[in-house]
Symmetry: C2
Subunit: 262 residues, 2 copies
């Protein structure tokens, strides 16, 4: 039996410790910071440091959304660098970046996410196919979540289009990812929690790990996502961002985690 991928092993260890599969998404938004923090980049940095300090013993993983840092320009990216330093080594950092491009460009993208920011995992667009993803997969010790079926309404535009074989496009994408996972051992897929298709999708492959966003503010439920989305090893990464960071300010971050998973 081959040993587990190092990031998957860490996720298993964390799950055993915290007893759930909730990943906290970090979508920094200066306008939404609690009153105790100045609505500046410095206030944001303090806020993110507190989020990590208060929650790192209680989460499966963190998923910073790089686009929210980028929107703040180069200073925002410095906040992401700082955040990376605050995240403990045993908590995987899934840097949500939705990249993917022709080979030589994809190589540059992977360098940025893994070598520069030290991400443990990222998210990828499947549209351009394997040679746009392989430069990521070649980072063997990293995990690569390819978009399968997303949680937004316009997933119907292309993802749900029926192919010649009668199946929707996303099923072929996910089957293909499951095949690549057998080959590379480090491929996962993103499947939205608001999609009623989750249970059906799990049947495609029992091994591949799902990253399920859309719990909390986007309307999905943790328990459904867990029971329908877990793989044969009972592992799944379920993400909540806004509901942990900004909602119910009268509760502590850990109380919001408890509320989200209950």
């Amino acid at each position: 039996m081959r040993s587990k991928h190092p990031v998957i092993q860490t996720l298993h260890d964390n799950k055993s410790r915290v007893n759930h599969c909730l990943c906290v998404g970090i979508d920094p938004d200066i306008t939404k910071l609690p009153e105790a923090f100045s609505h500046t980049l410095s206030g944001l940095n303090d806020f993110l440091e507190k989020v990590i300090k208060d929650t790192s013993g209680q989460v499966l993983a963190y998923k910073p959304n790089i686009s929210f840092f980028e929107a703040l320009g180069i200073d925002g990216l410095k906040s992401l660098e700082l955040l990376r330093k605050h995240i403990p080594e045993n908590i995987p950092m899934i840097l949500d970046a939705k990249r993917g491009d022709i080979g030589n460009t994809a190589t540059m993208q992977a360098k940025y996410l893994f070598d520069y920011f030290g991400a443990d995992a990222s998210t990828l667009h499947p549209y351009m196919g394997l040679d746009s993803l392989e430069p990521f997969f070649k980072y063997k010790d990293k995990l690569h979540f390819v978009l399968g079926l997303t949680s937004n309404p316009s997933a119907s535009n292309f993802e749900k289009l029926k192919l010649e074989n009668g199946e929707p496009l996303y099923k072929t994408v996910i089957s293909q990812c499951a095949g690549w996972n057998k080959e590379y051992g480090n491929v996962g897929v993103v499947v939205g929690a608001t999609q009623s298709e989750l249970k059906e999708i799990r049947k495609i492959d029992q091994d591949i790990i799902f990253l399920i966003p859309g719990v909390g503010a986007q309307g999905g439920y943790y328990e459904d996502a867990f029971s329908q989305g877990k793989n044969q090893d009972d592992l799944v990464v379920i993400n909540a961002s806004r509901s942990i960071l900004y909602q119910n300010p009268e509760l502590s971050f850990c109380e919001r985690i408890s509320q989200t998973i209950s």
Copy 2:
């Protein structure tokens, strides 16, 4: 008759001036810098300044590839900021970034590319559908090139999959983009020059503007791309990157442009 989109008008003006449709792609690679430049970020900045100085009177547009700057970290992004300052206002800067995500994230991505870097146009992944693209389209005065059929071999994995109606996925994506262009007036598509399907794709819609990468190092020919890819107003954006920046160092940049279009 509605007036032309400002970026499209500028492209027309530039085409009249330079008499071709070649866009120069800026993929900075320190290891490939000519001997006269130090192989450092500072050398790269000098090189890029020279590229712009020598070519800005001879190009339709520039297409910096943000991933190559990102691979150099925050200092690389500072080089992109500097490059933006060197590009004259009348030369559109297509910031090739391949973005696209759920609405609130896509809004952040658009802020980064257009408000922070001052791009005039970008490139987008279609997979997640309209609500992942609309935050870009809402930047009315910018142009938005959505991936249609790309120039890499793995375009066959998903882009060329046949749908229930017998047509490949990319045709539906491009038709949909043509429809969005009728509504928003600022949507284009990316179609690879190495694809024999170019002529067929042009028949889908006569108005939508194509961004055609893959000329030069990737093996496509300018003249074919122009004759098969131009729209009803004889406009198309044909990109060459490596063949202008790094190949044939005995020629000037403008001589390389002349050679690429001849």
